[in-house]
């Protein structure tokens, strides 16, 4: 009989805290080496947003399948629920970054004395009080709905009553609709307004598709780690096959949005729009092309055949590559605008800080996993999930 309760062992805690310590070390190194406020703040912002968005997608995974009344995901939905524990943690980190210098270092529109005509025209939206109000609304909604979904899911596990299943669907629908709107608006606030003169109408979807494919990849990685530790033995090729389909399809979707944005701007060649890509192609060309290869070509080619989608040893490395790739994607969204090509770089600060955030994210997710049974045995679709099988 396998153990259905996850235990956050001392060993895991040690690994997690060691990684967090590396992160703090990198942060201290950033200050001591005098890498500049811009670069340190931008890195904290990058990682804060990146890992917070993984939490959002963890809950999205649960919610969207609850609405669709699908059954196969039940055996791994606790991973998504546990990831959502990071939403408030990431929110606090982001708030601290914004409060202590972030507004000034990241966003040029906060410098109210020196606004040009274009930015003056955007003051109705891009002003600090409204920015913080939006921030509060986003996080209040996400944390509240995620908490309600987790609570209902746990009640469903205890009682198995259909009433809770319907409640779960209702909250999930609210969450998905709320996230659909807020993920777009928040990406304007936190990422697009770094280059405040520039705008793109599909930016929000682009960021969301990036979040989505990374979040699903991270669910795969966590499931694999749990399986190696001896939990969740019922997760088999069939479930991994479906997750790999998500990774494959969403990578293509991401590339589609990337290209749609790039080609229109390239073709129209309007200076105020082209400047965005001009900067990235001139000073960040390695990052720019790596972004495409790592996030599109590799998942596309490696996950194309049916057989490779069913093998952990292919799917998990690709998931790790996607995880790194979308960090790079976010890097090229933030750094050119917030830091500039002279100060930006990838060194111990970037890598160490990311390791620190991975450690923190791991600790929070494992803590979340230890709060409830790993498999909701009373879920109406639990049995269906065990017998799930997919042909193609």
């Amino acid at each position: 009989m396998e153990n259905n309760m996850f235990k956050l062992t001392k060993k895991l805690q040690t690994i997690g805290f060691a990684m967090v310590a590396i992160g703090l070390l990198a942060l201290a190194y950033g200050f001591i080496a005098g890498l500049g406020g811009d670069r340190i703040i931008a890195n904290l912002h990058l990682n804060g947003f990146y890992f917070m968005s993984l939490g959002l997608i963890g809950m999205f995974f649960v919610a969207v399948h609850a609405i669709a009344e699908s059954g196969w995901q039940v055996s791994m939905q606790r991973v998504g629920e546990a990831m959502s524990y990071f939403i408030p943690v990431g929110g606090i980190i982001m708030l601290l970054v914004f409060l202590f210098g972030g507004m000034h270092h990241l966003f040029e529109w906060t410098d109210e004395a020196h606004l040009d005509r274009i930015l003056l025209g955007k003051v109705a939206y891009l002003n600090q009080p409204f920015f913080y109000i939006r921030f509060a609304v986003f996080f209040a909604g996400w944390i509240l709905l995620a908490w309600m979904i987790r609570k209902t899911s746990r009640e469903l596990d205890i009682n198995g009553d259909k009433k809770y299943f319907n409640k779960l669907r209702k909250y999930s629908a609210f969450y998905v609709v709320f996230l659909a709107i807020t993920s777009v608006i928040s990406s304007w606030d936190w990422l697009m307004s770094i280059d405040a003169h520039w705008f793109s109408t599909l930016y929000g979807w682009y960021v969301f598709s990036s979040m989505l494919v990374t979040g699903f990849s991270v669910i795969v990685i966590f499931t694999f780690v749990l399986k190696k530790m001896g939990y969740m033995q019922h997760v088999n090729d069939e479930h991994i096959h479906d997750m790999a389909k998500y990774m494959f399809g969403l990578s293509i979707f991401w590339a589609y949005l990337w290209f749609s944005q790039y080609m229109l701007i390239w073709y129209a060649n309007i200076p105020e729009e082209t400047i965005y890509f001009y900067e990235r192609l001139k000073y960040f060309d390695t990052i720019f092309y790596m972004n495409l290869i790592v996030n599109f070509a590799i998942p596309f080619l490696l996950l194309m055949t049916r057989n490779s989608k069913r093998v952990f040893w292919v799917v998990v490395p690709v998931a790790v590559i996607i995880f790194i790739g979308h960090w790079i994607d976010l890097y090229q969204l933030i750094m050119p605008g917030a830091v500039g090509h002279e100060a930006a770089g990838i060194g111990f600060l970037e890598i160490g800080l990311t390791i620190g955030f991975i450690g923190l994210f791991m600790l929070v997710t494992f803590y979340g996993l230890s709060k409830a049974p790993l498999v909701p045995k009373n879920h109406p679709f639990y049995e269906e999930s065990l017998h799930y099988h997919t042909n193609y």
Binding site: M263, W266, Y267, N269, T305, H389, Y392
Partner: protein, 170 residues
């Protein structure tokens, strides 16, 4: 060559799967099964191999993408050179939409054509109806018949397994 076969139908998929199991135990070759809806586990039960249509799709798509890309490259650099808003003549981003559409088109068409050719379908094809009940709600099983004695045995086995409407066609 012995081309004769026996058809029989079942009322539901559980009976069908059980019948297939029993027929296979007797070592009789199953030619085909027709069902009104997809049946779970049927592919495995009759030992069906995975479809090779995906390979057709891949190569069709690759050929389509190559044709689309190379044709544009030839047209815009050799055959009919026009300056579009100061863009380079060999402008890869602007080739991409056509390349993508050609890949999709060729992959879809090659799949349809491969399917039609392999199953000898298409305009003017004569439909083969093994048993009229298979066009309604019955699960039809078609097995290979042997000589007279064997055929009798198979028919007996089929009716024992709960099959109905057993017909032998030479």
């Amino acid at each position: 060559m012995n081309n004769s076969y026996i058809t029989a139908y079942y009322y539901d998929e559980e009976e069908l799967l059980e019948g297939i199991r029993q027929i296979k135990e007797k070592g009789v070759e199953i030619l085909d099964v027709m069902t009104p809806f997809p049946v779970h586990g049927l592919d495995k039960a009759i030992g069906l191999r995975r479809s090779r249509l995906t390979r057709v799709a891949f190569w069709g798509g690759t050929i389509g993408a190559l044709i689309g890309f190379l044709f544009q490259a030839w047209v815009f650099t050799q055959a009919y050179v026009i300056n579009f808003g100061g863009k380079p003549f060999f402008a890869v981003p602007s080739f991409m939409p056509v390349t993508f559409e050609m890949a999709v088109l060729f992959s879809a068409f090659s799949m349809v054509l491969a399917f039609l050719i392999y199953f000898k379908l298409g305009p003017g094809a004569k439909p083969i109806i093994y048993d009229e009940r298979s066009t309604d709600d019955r699960f039809l099983l078609i097995v290979k018949a042997g000589d007279a004695d064997e055929t009798k045995n198979i028919e007996k086995a089929l009716s024992q397994a709960g099959a109905e409407g057993i017909k032998h066609k030479a």
